[in-house]
């Protein structure tokens, strides 16, 4: 059977992006919250935090970007859930298309919309005094890590969207993920935390990802952290996407 996976996925992406751009409030929501955090931490708490850098915004930005992505992916499960409720999915599934293109359309949309909000946040950070000496390669490295992080979380969002029973349920899974950066090296050095908290913070994915991005921005050697970070992202992505496809096939018979 010939299917047209790429052209079908492109049509699905086009459709889903139209949904995003016609409800601009979703992009604004996911962009404003992290910016508010950034303002709060730099101008309110920042003075009391000793992160060992003179520019706290430099220290803070990697974590803020992860928070933006973690809140952005909730919309993927929300949109997917709404699609499953509507008749349009039945139509797609009764048509001769590559069925996985339906999910890939949502996943790629998540990449595009998160890329937009990340770009906006970096621009705001520049205005707030963020400076990096990183070269093109280091920036590409940061972009690569963020793409992998987005894909990993988006596939988790797909699972949530496919299994949700209500609209609220579709977004609820994002809260624990959103909480992870707070118990990591994103806002303060882990060395200041008491034993058990520190052990958790140093061994959960966000810390290695934040440290890698920070090192890339500061032209420091990334060390073994980057492999830990990549292993987390790729591992979660592979497992979550396989599981999502499995659930999807079960669901649509």
């Amino acid at each position: 059977m010939k299917t047209h996976f790429f052209s079908d996925t492109w049509v699905m992406l086009e459709r889903s992006l139209r949904h995003v751009f016609r409800s601009v409030d979703t992009i604004i929501t996911v962009t404003i919250m992290p910016i508010a955090f950034m303002l709060l931490f730099v101008y309110v708490f920042g003075g009391a935090i000793h992160a060992g850098t003179d520019r706290y915004v430099n220290y803070l930005l990697p974590g803020i970007l992860l928070i933006a992505i973690a809140s952005g992916i909730a919309y993927t499960s929300y949109r997917l859930f709404l699609d499953l409720q509507s008749g349009i999915f039945e139509r797609f599934h009764s048509m001769p298309i590559a069925r996985s293109s339906v999910l890939w359309g949502h996943v790629l949309t998540s990449l595009v919309s998160n890329a937009i909000s990340v770009t906006v946040i970096v621009l705001v950070a520049l205005v707030m005094g963020f400076r990096s000496s990183a070269g093109v390669l280091a920036w590409l490295g940061v972009a690569g890590i963020l793409v992998l992080f987005t894909l990993a979380l988006t596939w988790i969002a797909v699972i949530a969207g496919l299994s949700a029973k209500s609209t609220d349920g579709a977004g609820a899974f994002a809260y624990p993920i959103l909480f992870l950066p707070f118990v990591s090296s994103a806002f303060v050095p882990t060395a200041t935390m008491p034993g058990p908290v520190r052990a958790f913070a140093e061994n959960q994915p966000v810390t290695s990802i934040v440290n890698s991005i920070r090192a890339l921005f500061e032209q420091q050697p990334v060390g073994g952290q980057i492999w830990t970070a990549l292993a987390w992202c790729v591992g979660v992505m592979v497992i979550a996407s396989a599981l999502a496809m499995l659930i999807y096939r079960r669901k649509i018979a």
Binding site: M1, T3, H4, S7, D8, V11, E14, R15, R18, H19, R22, S23, S86, G87, I88, E90, R91, F92, H93, S94, M95, P96, I97, I252, A253
Partner: protein
């Protein structure tokens, strides 16, 4: 299937949801180019049959062929032959009418998606609303768009699950005209309905689904013979409320060609 003139063939179809037996041995055939109405009350299993024949649901047992392809073994060939207009309008509310049509044309890899869309918009009297989001459409317009989307790529067999549910009388008549014109062009139509009148108006053959099996099937004439002979009585025929409604409102909408 063996017979070239059979568009849909269903034999011994069984399906249950958990412990509930929904279909207990359904058999029927639909001739090519005919309109076949599946009649039954709510929960009789009409939608389940449609979902199975359109490859959305796997049956427990039975052999089903659509356009000569086995529904269970060759689902992708079946999907190439059919289109489905489900019970709830399967349109994208955020997109415009035209974008909906272009999207389906692209997914079906039809050449000149834009022209196909414009042609259908014109045929279904939706040209003026082409650039508007579907969320602003009336129920009748949505249904027309829904059916227009189902015609793209000229599928041999079209499934319409309760196509007129929730429509006003004018909308219903519009949809009836569309269905009739489909059959006139040689498309096979299987429609489900709870309205006896709808089956009577449109269908070449009617099957009545009751408690999981087809209890009667045949042409309207054949079904009529099952009833006691007609008595001739003098009854003053009052206009129906529908006729009054249509006379007052005036059926001046653009008719689908």
């Amino acid at each position: 299937m063996e017979d070239e003139n059979v568009a849909i063939h269903v034999h011994g179809l069984h399906t249950s949801f958990k412990d509930l037996q929904v279909l207990k041995g359904v058999d029927f055939e639909v001739a090519r180019g005919s309109i076949f109405a599946l009649l039954g009350s709510n929960g009789a299993g009409k939608t389940t049959i449609v979902r199975i024949l359109t490859t959305l649901l796997k049956p427990d047992a039975g052999t089903m062929h659509v356009n000569g392809f086995d529904v269970v073994l060759q689902p992708s060939r079946v999907r190439e032959s059919i289109s489905l207009t489900g019970q709830f309008a399967a349109v994208d509310e955020v997109l415009t009418g035209r974008e909906n049509l272009v999207m389906i044309a692209e997914l079906r890899h039809v050449k000149g998606a834009g022209e196909v869309a414009d042609d259908l918009l014109d045929r279904f009297g939706l040209s003026d609303a082409a650039g508007r989001r579907v969320s602003t459409y009336s129920g009748g317009m949505r249904r027309r768009l829904d059916i227009a989307m189902s015609l793209i790529g000229n599928p041999r067999v079209i499934f319409l699950d309760e196509p007129t549910t929730g429509l006003d009388p004018e909308g219903r008549i519009e949809v009836w005209q569309v269905i009739q014109s489909l059959a006139d062009r040689g498309t096979t139509v299987l429609l489900t309905t709870q309205h006896l009148e709808e089956a009577e108006k449109l269908a070449d053959r009617i099957a009545i689904l009751h408690e999981g099996t087809i209890i009667v099937s045949g042409t309207l004439e054949e079904l009529r013979k099952l009833l006691p002979p007609v008595k001739v009585e003098y009854v003053e025929r009052q206009p129906t409320l529908e006729e009054i409604f249509l006379a007052i409102v005036g059926n001046n909408k653009k008719e689908p060609r």
